[in-house]
């Protein structure tokens, strides 16, 4: 009996000892000093795992049906899209960092905003790679605002822009004749149509961004400061406007403002069921696929508030510190930033979102393609969207809105 026990313990110890063989002492940062041609050549025939949220058929199709086959053909790279929520792969990377696992499973991640800030602070990203990408250099450039700051966090080349979306409101044009065009008119509209408008709880990204528009308006001339770091002084000057506005509309909101939809999905559901007449959210073209599949009524149109404007949001692709194939990851990101891939992404049948490339830097041919692209009936014209475009503001304000909203709006 005793011998048996000893044997079992010995076996267990052996298994434990075997487990720890994975270590990549070299580190994969050296890829950052390689020449671009060398990177492309060594990525041939490899696999790249792209980890991203997988809850939208349009986005999934763009990757699976458009990007993956072309990458295979042009670079002989197999692109695997792995559906995973952002919080989960962030958690995974954090634990892997803690456990010193230098050979992970993720090559490319899709992040922005506070997730990027956390990843940067925890040192979860490979390093400054974006300026190595030829398409980044040619069509975006290091001077671009989106290439330098991600919601107030300095990027330092740790991530490369992938898409740019604007905040728009959607409404049912068969029931609303003229949509409001300023925050003042919106307030009036809410008073005239009690119960037909609401915004998501501010713990939701969309609800939070709605309140950020009020903050922009309240800040007035100081609003340009909002995207350059968190500033208490700006808040002192503008908070009165924000909370007064929200309290004024509260009693005329859906269910008298006693409760707010907890997410954009819930808000969209209320809109699709006809309970409310407006919904909102990032991506100026997101209505198209929802109209197409029957979720939104056919008469859905969109509008932006000319005063204060429409906040834009950029999302990025990055490479984690323990990517098993950083060369392949860089080739894939460069490919996804090509004019060809970015224009295909604007097609409403796929994803329909805006490009991050600088329009003036594109060839005439590509410019023409973008101009003639039919993004759908519910999407505003590029000129209108650009005219009222606002930059996104620092993540510090996101938290401020979260904390204050609970005190000032919910508890009253």
């Amino acid at each position: 009996m005793k011998r048996k026990v000893t044997f079992i313990i010995a076996t267990l110890l052996f298994i434990v000892a075997c487990g720890n063989s994975e270590s990549n002492e070299m580190g994969n940062k050296e890829v950052l000093s390689k020449e671009w041609d060398e990177i492309v050549t060594s990525s041939k025939g490899t696999e790249v795992n792209l980890f991203m949220w997988g809850g939208d058929e349009g986005i999934n199709q763009y990757i699976d049906k458009w990007a993956a086959p072309r990458l295979k053909e042009e670079h002989n790279i197999t692109l695997n899209r792995q559906p995973m929520n952002t919080e989960e792969f962030m958690q995974k990377l954090l634990t892997e960092k803690k456990a010193n696992k230098n050979e992970g499973t993720i090559d490319v991640i899709w992040i922005n905003g506070s997730n990027f800030k956390n990843a940067k602070n925890a040192d979860l990203l490979l390093g400054s790679f974006s300026k190595k990408l030829p398409h980044f250099q040619e069509y975006i450039g290091t001077q671009d605002q989106n290439a330098n700051y991600d919601q107030g966090t300095e990027i330092n080349g740790l991530e490369a822009p992938w898409g740019n979306v604007q905040f728009v409101f959607h409404y049912d044009s068969s029931k609303v004749d003229i949509p409001p065009s300023t925050l003042g008119e919106l307030k009036q509209w809410i008073h005239d149509n009690p119960g037909m408008f609401t915004y998501p709880n501010v713990s939701d990204f969309t609800g939070n961004t709605f309140v950020k528009h009020l903050l922009m308006k309240g800040a007035g001339e100081e609003s340009s400061l909002l995207s350059k770091g968190f500033d208490k002084k700006v808040i002192q000057d503008s908070e009165e406007y924000v909370w007064n506005y929200l309290n004024d509309i509260k009693s005329d909101l859906w269910r008298n403002g006693e409760t707010y939809p907890e997410s954009l999905t819930k808000l969209d559901t209320l809109y699709s069921q006809g309970e409310i007449l407006m919904t909102m959210g990032f991506n100026e073209a997101r209505g198209e696929s929802l109209i197409e599949n029957g979720t939104f009524p056919d008469s859905t149109k969109s509008f932006v508030l000319k005063d204060p404007g429409s906040i834009s949001n950029t999302h990025y692709l990055s490479i984690p510190f323990n990517s098993p194939n950083p060369e392949g990851a860089m080739t894939v990101i460069n490919f996804l930033e090509s004019p060809e891939a970015q224009i295909a992404k604007m097609d409403p049948k796929m994803w329909g979102e805006g490009t991050v490339l600088n329009f003036d830097k594109l060839s005439e041919e590509d410019q023409q393609m973008i101009e003639t692209l039919n993004r759908g009936e519910s999407v505003l014209s590029t000129e209108a969207l650009n005219e009222y475009k606002l930059p996104d503001i620092d993540t510090g304000y996101t938290e401020w809105i979260n904390n204050e909203w609970a005190n000032r709006i919910v508890e009253q």
Partner: protein, 272 residues
């Protein structure tokens, strides 16, 4: 209507009431989901969808990971069920037949995984699993699925053993039956109902794990929930409904498979 009701006795009335209640509670939701998965823009207050389309099913079927995820789901669940059987049967037998020091402590320990939130365990375990080199692998996911399943499996088997008692075992023992004969001719047939419910229960629990699979499987082990849950944050109800139906069909398939296998095993045993 009144005449019809009068014609029925109290008993029949109660029965038909229960029947209607069950239909409302169990069958109607399934019908609604089925209808939802093939509908376009089904809005309140319309009683029936305004249009029918197979778009949702098409986009589910088009997912290139669907087949892979179904195979992985079955592989994981099958191994989890197997391991549960191997571990729960001896544990339950020991707990029901023997008295020993510290038995209540061991019982408590065996039950503890379901009292602690799984997500906490998974985060802690991921660290260990990385060091053992089984994170991001099917085998790691199988192990971590034992956490939410094994306590139930032991409970179920223990109840079975207690119902069976030990007298038949002793009798066979006196008559000279060996260990295997005793197990296959007495325990197995008498424990069959417990084994059946153990298999179904652990299969369903394993099937429904999202957080544990996501963390330990690291996105490289794709089970059906990994494809299905992200859709909850989109507003396309039809796709969610379609996935739900697919999800509900898997246990049915598994039960069918298990029943056939068990019949075969029992027939083989009886012949010996």
């Amino acid at each position: 209507m009144r005449l019809f009701l009068k014609g029925l006795g109290k008993r029949e009335l109660a029965t038909s009431f229960m029947l209607i209640l069950f239909i409302i509670l169990f069958i109607l939701p399934f019908v609604t989901i089925g209808l939802k998965s093939v509908s376009v823009g089904w809005r309140w207050p319309a009683l029936l969808p305004s249009g029918l389309s197979l778009d949702a099913w098409r986009s589910i079927m088009k997912d290139p990971k669907l087949i892979e995820s179904l195979v992985t789901t079955f592989k994981v669940a099958f191994l989890v069920v197997l391991l549960n059987l191997l571990l729960a049967i001896p544990a339950a037998r020991a707990l029901s037949h023997y008295m020993f020091k510290g038995k209540s402590i061991i019982e408590g320990l065996l039950l503890s995984p379901i009292l602690i939130p799984g997500i906490l365990l998974a985060m802690g375990l991921q660290f260990t699993m990385i060091q053992f080199g089984i994170a991001d692998k099917v085998i790691g996911v199988v192990f971590v699925h034992l956490i939410p399943t094994l306590p139930y499996a032991i409970r179920v088997m223990r109840a079975g053993y207690e119902r069976m008692g030990s007298s038949l075992y002793e009798q066979a023992s006196v008559l000279g039956a060996g260990l295997f004969t005793r197990f296959f001719t007495i325990a197995l047939p008498l424990l069959l109902p417990s084994i059946r419910s153990l298999m179904l229960l652990t299969f369903v629990i394993s099937l429904g794990q999202y957080a544990l699979t996501a963390i330990i499987g690291g996105g490289t082990v794709i089970t059906l929930p990994m494809l299905y849950y992200p859709y909850f944050s989109s507003s396309n109800d039809a796709v969610i409904a379609g996935f739900s139906i697919l999800f509900a069909l898997l246990p049915l398939l598994f039960i069918g498979f298990v029943e056939v296998m068990m019949r075969l095993v029992i027939r083989a045993v009886n012949r010996v």
